[in-house]
Symmetry: C2
Subunit: 224 residues, 2 copies
DNA sequence: CAGGGGAAGTTGTTGAACGATCTTTCGTGT
DNA sequence: ACACGAAAGATCGTTCAACAACTTCCCCTG
């Protein structure tokens, strides 16, 4: 009864609906600012309004949706403030995780695997895959901290971040520069130079943030 | 648009139900491990099952409730791992917030106010109020980081922490030692000695964690 | 063309219903 | 007496239909 430990892949319908909506948002199928009708979406996903509302509640808490009382939910529109905030949290969490990472931590393998995947995807010119691998790299960094709560926080932030990435259309421009940087961070970490790894990552994140903010200021964002 | 969080006091019924349940858990009225029946609670709170389920969903994501499929929700039982994790996250967030706190930040006033309140409550022997003031002190520390997302994360962690505090019956033992420590941290912060403030806080949190873990190991926890 | 006033559409919430699944009880066999 | 298993009972998961409260949109008026 107590020693199950494995996360049952049994998602209930509300969770499945939430996952569907989440991926639709991240993939850009639902653009920021667009309205999600309970009835229409419920029919489309094959769930009842009540169940769909539970899914909305989850995604709202994740910051992907915004509820306006009696006026429906809309896909959250990334703001300058939210981008800045997300990167501030990322630098804090990832930096500390990397700095305090114990050697030979299991997540280290995930780190290396993510870099390999990204490099392979780059060769293949599959920039979307490069982006996914890069995100996985950062998830693995956070996993180094061995904190279930931090993992959860980061999962939420990742989703919001992907939403913000949507304001840049060119995935190569968005993800390509970081593959080698990831490899460099990984190397420093693997060689036990935690401080260097963290410092590199910090500079890396600052540049990434700047790129996003510049695109935002340039007005690349979807004009809902 | 950034200065005042316009917290509309307009909570829908699900949010109100969640708030009720949350305070019942924190106040110890619902003890860890106890089961919350949808029908019974719905009647007690005057909401329908569907609405109550939305509340459950929120509290589950906050870590206060645990859902067992087809077997109802129970109040989360703090575990050694969760206590350790919570304190790890606290040290990370509060430490960084304090270290990087800009001088004359608005939250500084909240910090001072919390200390004053705690001191007054101690004089009055109102240990519950001391506890609340202490929690507020830490909330204010996190607010120094100026991050909406961090604030939200910390709010969740606070609720879980209060749940864990429930394993110690003696609120004086639990909260009294930290009033003066808070004052000391505040002083260091106010005088611009951010590093000292953060270091003091770190030692403080380690002791607090140790106290909790000791109580847990001693078996003070509720034997549901 | 601006503003006001419905009309129509959506959300918020409830109650009932039914299948699916967990718990408890009860009986049986050793 | 105790372990084991099966049926009964209780509860959850989900849907549907309904209605009030509220928003949004469109049309009408000045």
């Amino acid at each position: 009864m107590a020693e199950r430990a494995n996360d049952d892949e049994v998602l209930d319908r509300a969770e499945k609906a939430a996952a569907d909506i989440r991926s639709s948002i991240i993939s850009g199928h639902f653009t920021p600012g667009s309205r999600l009708s309970e009835q229409a979406l419920g029919v489309a996903l094959g769930v009842s309004r009540n169940t769909l509302r539970e899914a909305f509640r989850m995604l709202t808490q994740e910051g992907l949706l915004v509820r306006r009382p009696h006026a429906g939910v809309i896909v959250a529109v990334p703001s300058l403030a939210s981008i800045i905030d997300i990167y501030r949290v990322r630098r804090m969490i990832e930096g500390q995780a990397l700095r305090g990472a114990p050697p030979r931590h299991p997540a280290g393998r995930a780190l290396a695997a993510a870099v390999d995947t990204a490099v392979a995807a780059r060769e293949a010119g599959d920039w979307a895959a490069v982006g996914t691998a890069n995100m996985e790299f950062h998830r693995a960094i956070v996993a180094l901290a061995d904190s279930a709560r931090l993992d959860r926080v980061y999962a939420n932030i990742s989703a919001e971040l992907r939403l913000a990435f949507g304001i840049i259309d060119d995935p190569e421009y968005l993800h390509a520069p970081y593959v080698d940087r990831n490899a460099s961070v990984l190397r420093a970490h693997a060689e036990g130079r935690s401080g260097d790894a963290a410092d590199e990552l910090d500079a890396y994140l600052i540049q990434s943030e700047r790129t996003l903010l510049a695109a935002y200021a340039r007005g690349d964002r979807d004009v809902h």
